[in-house]
């Protein structure tokens, strides 16, 4: 049951009891978020029904196509910044020709999945939390539950399926555009020939870095949908609650993307 009542409790009698309750509440909320994720993954078996397919395509359009302009600008400029910063340092040692390799390695391993994850968390994740939160406040989620329509299957699963596919795609796109942005700066600011830059970049494009990056992006997709829908589902108190849920989803997504990103890197390198 997504729609739930706040528990009725006697006032805490001591600071220890208050602390204990807080810890249990946090654990319970983490468990609830995990159940939303697990429930949506379990509902993936319905992903091939006609309605679900339609919803997934609509969500993919929303997540990917409508985020494309902002992701493109971010990716291109991240590549340009990386090339400029690294290139200036390398020029000191007369090694600016290696800029392509550094940009490629950074984009594939970290910046591609990381930047696409952050941008999608801020745009798509916030929109998701606001939409689900508004539905919660307007009793639309309660209406679904009364009609015996599982909100995890109906709302969360299509978003999760769409994000699991689109975040890795956007990550790959971010990498490609970032490398291109780096090439523009390398050529115009550091006088590195195009061919040298791309040759150098491709020499350092390892398959492992690509797969680890895509795996990270895949995890980020799950994180963004789980956190955003979880925050949406716990919305109460009208418009103020929707604003709180949206803000909290962005903050939590950013933190988790950073933390999980680090541990995945640590796991593979």
């Amino acid at each position: 049951m997504i729609v739930r009542e706040p528990p009725v409790r006697e006032p805490a009698r001591s600071a220890v009891q208050r602390l204990g309750r807080r810890v249990f509440d946090i654990l319970a909320e983490v468990g609830r978020a995990a159940m939303i994720c697990v429930g949506a993954v379990a509902a993936m078996r319905f992903a091939f029904t006609k309605r679900a397919r339609k919803d997934i395509v609509a969500q993919m359009h929303f997540c990917a196509v409508r985020s494309l302009p902002v992701v493109s600008v971010v990716a291109f400029f991240i590549g340009m910044i990386l090339a400029l910063q690294i290139g200036i340092e390398l020029r000191v040692y007369n090694q600016e020709a290696l800029t392509g390799s550094a940009v490629m390695a950074s984009m594939l391993r970290e910046m591609g999945p990381f930047m696409s994850g952050l941008v999608l968390a801020a745009s798509v994740g916030a929109a998701m939390a606001a939409q689900v939160g508004t539905m919660m406040v307007n009793e639309e989620i309660a209406a679904l539950e009364i009609m015996d329509i599982d909100p995890l299957r109906f709302l969360v699963m299509p978003r999760m399926a769409a994000m699991a596919v689109t975040v890795p795609m956007m990550s790959f796109y971010t990498c490609a555009l970032g490398v291109l942005g780096g090439a523009v700066v390398s050529h115009t600011q550091l006088a590195v020939p195009w061919a040298t830059y791309f040759q150098n970049a491709m020499d350092f494009a390892s398959t492992k870095a690509l797969w680890v990056g895509l795996f990270k992006a895949f995890l980020f997709g799950f994180i963004i949908v789980t956190v955003s829908c979880y925050e949406g589902f716990r919305t109460e108190h009208g418009a103020v609650g929707v604003g709180r849920a949206t803000r909290q989803s962005v903050v939590t997504n950013f933190l988790l993307i950073l933390i999980v990103g680090y541990f995945v890197t640590r796991l593979f390198y």
Partner: protein, 254 residues
């Protein structure tokens, strides 16, 4: 059909909204709950479908204890209900037709042709025959409510719960909704529980009227007795709506 057994509901703030409430709604009747705001009318309705759980006591739907049901059992019990929310609770991104078709598409194996027939029929009944393609945001509050009503009845449930079905509607449409509730009850034997402030509606369609006040059931009477009630709360309610005679409602009962 629906039975409250010593139900008490205390919210987190400590407010006791229902206090040892017991009553039974009979199969096929139109049971109306009236009373001032904040006396637990909508809370009672939400207990019937387990959107809320009692602090103590039990709520039964037939032989099923809905207040203790979980998982699939709760789903099965809920599938017996239609529910009209006070806010209509239509899904904002779907047009009216898709909103009404939603429970049929999700919970039945009907073909799209059969679904279309049922949806058109439900929309005609609530006077929204030409509004299938409209988005909820393009409709007035009253029209949204009628669309919500169409969604609640399209599956022809055993029990329909109406939370303020006529609030925000013009008098002609209100009367039409009253007739629809009465018609569903008499023609299909649907059990209806109506929460309303509109005593004109309550007196017109109800089999029995329950008056709530201070978390208690103050009276449960047929309309003919309710209109002569000596309860101060009931009298205040009646007089606030300029209801002083009984004949008019008896003549107008659908």
């Amino acid at each position: 059909m629906i039975r409250f057994e010593h139900v008490t509901k205390v919210f987190g703030s400590g407010k006791r909204v229902l206090d040892d409430v017991s009553y039974e709604v009979e199969r096929g009747e139109i049971f109306t709950i009236v009373g001032p705001s904040g006396t637990g009318k909508s809370v009672s309705l939400k207990h019937m479908i387990r959107l809320l759980s009692p602090t103590s006591g039990r709520v039964w739907v037939g032989d099923d204890c809905v207040s203790e049901a979980e998982g699939r059992e709760l789903s099965r019990i809920r599938s017996r209900f239609g529910y009209l929310f006070q806010s209509a609770a239509l899904l904002a991104w779907m047009d009216v037709y898709d909103n009404v078709a939603l429970p049929l598409r999700e919970k039945t194996r009907l073909t799209e042709g059969e679904i279309e027939f049922k949806v058109r029929d439900a929309l005609e009944k609530v006077g929204l025959g030409g509004e299938g393609a409209s988005m909820p945001s393009d409709l007035s509050g009253g029209m949204q409510k009628r669309a919500g009503l169409a969604r609640a009845i399209v599956t022809e449930p055993e029990i329909v719960l109406y939370d303020e079905p006529t609030s925000g509607l013009d008098p002609v449409t209100s009367r039409r909704i009253d007739e629809l509730i009465a018609d569903l009850s008499s023609r299909l034997g649907i059990t209806s529980v109506v929460v309303t402030h509109d005593l004109h509606s309550a007196l017109s369609i109800s089999t029995r009227i329950a008056m709530l006040g201070g978390g208690k059931v103050l009276s449960i009477e047929p309309p003919s007795a309710f209109i002569h009630s000596t309860l101060p709360q009931a009298r205040a309610f009646l007089e606030a709506q300029y209801i002083t005679r009984r004949g008019a409602w008896e003549a107008n009962r659908p």
